[in-house]
Amino acid sequence: MAKVAIRFLLNGSEKAEFVESGTTLLDVLREKLADFSPKGGCLQGTCGACSVLVDGEIRLACLTLAETCEGCTIETAGGLAKDGVLHPLQIAFADGFATQCGFCTGGMIVASKALLDRNPAPSREDVIEAISGNVCRCTGYEPIIGAVLAAARANSTNKA
């Protein structure tokens, strides 16, 4: 099988890999680059556990071919903490008991970051819409919605 060269920025670090043509971004992130924060849940585009940001847009890594991300900037939940300091969303999820088994958490946090990046003061309805492509079978969603709203409040307090 012919391999193709791909390069992209992953959580601020330049990455270059040879991958088999047609490989999904999820497989490259997990199997080549050891970023295990995006999960392979359904591989059908239903669960959202593989959510990542590609050039700031939320995408499903299981349905995105790595070759189509050539030259892109990719962010995952695994890159959110900086110098050992958790991202406000991560703090809010932990404080608000918004993670239980944790499988959906990476995707939930990425979906929430996509929201807060463009709408720092979202309504409850905005949060529900933003995480509508992400399935959680543990929490019943309420703690997650609360955590995203708390992170937004914390952000605005920090900037005030």
Binding site: M1, G22, T23, T24, G45, L63, T64, A111, E129
Partner: protein, 271 residues
């Protein structure tokens, strides 16, 4: 077995590659990469056309042209396509909307393909390109032959006349909100100016394996008042010609049973 990706900048070359057995055109990947993930061994090649024209949205007075590679998210964000926002917003979650394309939606089997329902109600034209040159096909004809004559076509764009203000309506009934698979999807262009219904074009989703027109209901609406009594004959004919799908979301019987309810709500939404 893995599936390889071939990217072209020339449509004729892409069409030639697409003609090979096992090749399929890659739009946003929300349906096709899923097929590969599910182990469809008949799929061996993705063919992709990297042409900026496929991503263009042109809003001219009276007519809209949307490139086949435009995503639902881009439609949702475009200021000139507000009337389509309801349809685009109800397709998938934000991540799916950033992948799912207009062209891909035309090939989506029910319960997917909600945007194609909207395009059918808008009486859109599907623009094709490829080795034999450019062709324009009415969306209804395209949908009828999408698995045969147009199975290996390359859709470059869709275009349609902008409906008069307030005449386009769309409803998607699903069991999960805000995102859920369709139980039934209905799009309509309905002209009620003057007190009576003077024009009706209604498209249904999930009432067959692909979007279909509700022609008997359309005819029964003409000249009628936009009231429960006025639309009753049309609702009684709503199921004519349908073969509702059965899947994990709903049985065909259920879809048929609720169609008149949702069609009635759509027709009377502003009455």
């Amino acid at each position: 077995m893995s599936v390889t990706l071939e990217t072209f900048t020339d449509i004729a070359a892409a069409a030639a590659a697409l003609a090979a057995p096992g090749a399929a055109y890659l739009g946003g990947g929300s349906l096709l990469v899923r097929r590969a993930n599910e182990g469809d061994v008949a799929l061996t090649h993705y063919v992709r056309l990297a042409d900026p024209a496929l991503r263009a949205i042109e809003v001219c007075p009276g007519r809209v042209r949307i490139g086949a590679g435009v995503t639902m998210g881009e439609i949702l964000r475009h200021p000139g396509l507000d009337f389509l926002g309801t349809a685009a917003r109800l397709i998938g979650g934000p991540a799916i909307r950033n992948a799912a394309t207009v062209g891909g939606n035309l090939y989506a089997r029910a319960p997917y393909g909600d945007f194609a329902v909207a395009l059918l109600a808008l009486d859109a034209v599907v623009h094709l390109g490829g080795r034999s040159g450019e062709r324009d096909v009415p969306v209804e004809d395209f949908l009828a032959k999408r698995g045969t004559a147009f199975a290996k076509a390359i859709v470059t764009a869709v275009s349609f006349a902008v409906p008069a203000n307030g005449t386009f309506r769309f409803i998607k009934a699903s069991r999960v909100r805000p995102k859920g698979l369709s139980v039934v999807t209905i799009a309509a262009v309905l002209d009620t100016r003057g007190g009576l219904i003077s024009f009706a074009r209604i498209a249904l989703g999930c009432l067959a394996d692909r979007p279909m027109r509700a022609r008997a209901a359309e005819t029964a609406l003409i000249g009628r008042a936009q009231t429960p009594e006025g639309i009753a004959p049309a609702l009684a004919l709503a199921l004519e010609g349908t073969t509702p799908i059965t899947d994990a979301v709903a049985s065909g019987w259920y879809r048929g049973a609720v169609l008149p309810v949702h069609l009635g709500r759509l027709l009377l939404a502003d009455a």
